[in-house]
Symmetry: C2
Subunit: 444 residues, 2 copies
């Protein structure tokens, strides 16, 4: 299918291309446009009917949007911007350089321009910057029949009509009613008898993390956004929330690997930006690890007399890091999903202590026999190694579970208390315990 289309494109069969494209979903059309060269992109975009073109525009990557806007006429730009949903138009403008924004705004009606400017002022990731203003509002006094008539007349331009919002004369939000309920109710009933007063709403300044949490908790498909006076100013729909959820997850995964998170796609990020997002953490962690090195320096004489002790350092350090990483990852994820709350820290600690006893004992025993039977290590040295291993696993799991909760407690992101930082901390501990055990038990 796609291959056939590419052939048609290379053969320049405009009519056939058009009819093929129109059989496709706008998301797939957008993908085709991504794959052709920039000259073809503009040509193909222009043969699309306007409603399809607007849909496709919202789905192509920022750099192609920019290229299109630079290549088409002012009139065409106006057509697109007028028909885009406000939130898509704002998403697009937020990514454009100033001259493009100017060019676009010059070509929009004053009303729309004002709305867009308003949107561009909301802080990034706030409900205000994510919401759309294309929703259906109803009045309490309407009957179901009147409400449905109202929807039929005004609904075409709305991003969602599945959930409608009931407001008073001051635009204060009074309730919510679903299209479903309207359709399934008696036509003569009043909206006031049907509305749901238990409204879950958010403020324009609320962060997207809160939004995602509420959508998940209440299985919502749309949510009203209100200003400080509880006046309805917009709505957020589930499709945007799905993107937010993935963004939040990406952010956590990046932070957990000691990367300053970015929303750009990996392949589209410049190497300098990639480096800038990684090197600071690497430097901090490298200098912190020096501290661990200093512990070895302090015990240099121990090492000098039994140099074989050095051979177990990697195993101890790696196991410490892994044991701590497991606990911290579980707790970070639990906190993110709301399954663990900071006040649960004693429960978590108690669980991790018991788990670490099981894990530590298993690992130490397995390792002891391996060292004795397969590596033929002196039993005293094997004992020192395995005792240090046991204590280290317990310490690592305790630190691994407590630090993310502590971070949450002081309003830091728990995700930074993941493997890299935990590893650095528990490595130092592992070595202190190891050398202390060696000094003590082997009389060094």
């Amino acid at each position: 299918m796609e291959k056939k289309l590419m052939e048609l494109i290379s053969e320049n069969k405009i009519h056939k291309i058009r009819s093929e494209l129109l059989k496709m979903n706008i998301v797939d059309i957008a993908q085709i446009l991504e794959e052709v060269d920039k000259h073809q992109l503009v040509r193909l975009f222009r043969i699309l009917p306007k409603d399809v073109a607007v849909g496709v525009f919202a789905y192509i990557p920022v750099e192609l949007q920019q290229h299109l806007v630079e290549s088409i006429t002012d009139k065409e730009i106006k057509g697109i911007i007028d028909d885009l949903f406000i939130d898509d138009a704002v998403d697009f403008l937020e990514e454009m350089p100033a001259n493009i924004v100017k060019k676009v705004l010059k070509n929009t009606d004053e009303d729309l321009r004002e709305v867009i400017n308003q949107f561009l002022k909301y802080p990034e990731h706030s409900a205000g910057s994510i919401m759309t203003i294309e929703f259906v509002d109803l009045k309490k006094e309407m009957t179901v029949k009147e409400a449905i008539e109202h929807i039929k007349i005004t609904g075409v331009d709305k991003e969602t009509i599945e959930t409608c919002y009931v407001i008073d004369n001051n635009r204060k939000l009074e309730g919510v009613i679903s299209l479903r309920k309207l359709i399934l109710s008696d036509e003569t009933k009043k909206i006031s008898e049907l509305i749901d007063n238990d409204i879950i709403s958010i403020k324009t300044t609320d962060d997207q993390e809160v939004i995602a949490h509420l959508f998940k908790k209440y299985d919502l498909t749309a949510m009203p956004v209100v200003d400080n006076e509880n006046r309805l100013v917009g709505i957020i729909t589930i499709d945007d929330v799905v993107d937010i959820i993935e963004q939040e997850n990406t952010e956590d995964i990046h932070k957990m690997a000691a990367i300053q998170p970015t929303e750009e796609e990996y392949l589209k990020t410049s190497i300098f930006k990639l480096a800038r997002h990684r090197v600071p953490w690497l430097l901090i962690l490298m200098f912190s690890a020096t501290f661990t090195g200093n512990i070895i320096k302090r015990f240099e004489n121990v090492l000098q007399s039994v140099v074989i002790l050095a051979a177990f350092i990697p195993m101890l350090m790696d196991t410490a890091g892994n044991a701590g990483a497991q606990s911290s990852a579980l707790v970070i994820r639990g906190l993110a999903l709301g399954e663990i709350r900071p006040k649960d820290f004693l429960k978590v600690l108690w669980k991790e202590i018991r788990v670490s006893l099981i894990a530590g004992l298993t690992l130490a025993t397995a390792n002891y026999f391996r060292l004795l039977l397969f590596e033929r290590v002196n039993p005293l040295i094997a004992f020192v190694v395995c005792l240090a291993l046991f204590l280290t696993v317990i310490f690592a799991k305790v630190i691994g579970c407590l630090l993310p909760i502590a971070a949450k407690g002081i309003r830091l992101d728990p995700a930074i208390m993941a493997s890299p930082l935990i590893t650095t901390i528990v490595d130092a501990f592992a070595l202190v315990i190891y050398f202390a055990m060696a000094t003590w038990l082997m009389g060094l």
Copy 2:
């Protein structure tokens, strides 16, 4: 509010409790039920009107569902199961012990029992096990008016009426039409003129990962599920997909921390299960780290003569692990989101090589001056350390980006090629390079 309710509950003021509860969202009622003792749970559950009770039932944790089912009468059970959406009923039964399943099925009508049994046979996480069968189906020949009438009559029991499915007499899926389009169209139009033939559907056996991917790609809110003959058997709705997305993310985060993933909430998982999901990986990684230890053993004489070299081992190992973890986390996440495809591996490699040159050079330079100026290390040793550091960062980033892609290539989950495994591999390399440089440059 919640506190006031708890007071009422302890004072046993049934009528007041009931009216307070009925002001709340079912999700919040479920949360209240979670917090009271088991005896109160059953009493509170029983004072709820049936439609609310069924909604609340779907939201309480498995162990409380089980307790309720064990405590209420057969007739009450039947009432709940009949009114639950099929997918919620199946989710619940899947978690119940055999005797409860028997008790429940005994109390359902034969038709429903058959449907439930059918559902229980679908593989876990397949579209069949997630879908619901409560959807609206329409015929092509209907007019818009007839379709809306049909929805009004049959819609009450449907999980979603916002998207309707058009089928032929053999239940073959012919198209999709949204309630929105029905409402906004002329009443006399035929469904056949309005339906969207570009259907995105899945098979009952498709995995939830595929489902989540399609929902995200096409911004869907519902998707039809068909059998091998393209007959419509169910639909999947966005609220279930949001849960799937979070589940898939949890799974990735757990795997990336060397934990065998589980769907149970952390606080509700037994310590033995927690240990069982962690110890195997810790053992594997511990034994792999022995390999790294053996490298130190091989270079024991080098270490013996310049024991200070040991002091830089933690810094080298940690930095290697962190550099590798960054690359692997970025690539694993990129693969999961479909931003990176296996065929992009050369692009990724080339990016990582350049990033690692920048990172390696920065780290090595910073460290060199720190060693010279603050630690007063012999310049030759400092040079050996920093050269090893530089080479290690490059190697770590290359390995870190390639292994996840390779895993994907051979149909393994890329998430296992994360920090723990990468660290073990690059640690070994770091030490070989370090000692090789030391032997060579210091003539040991």
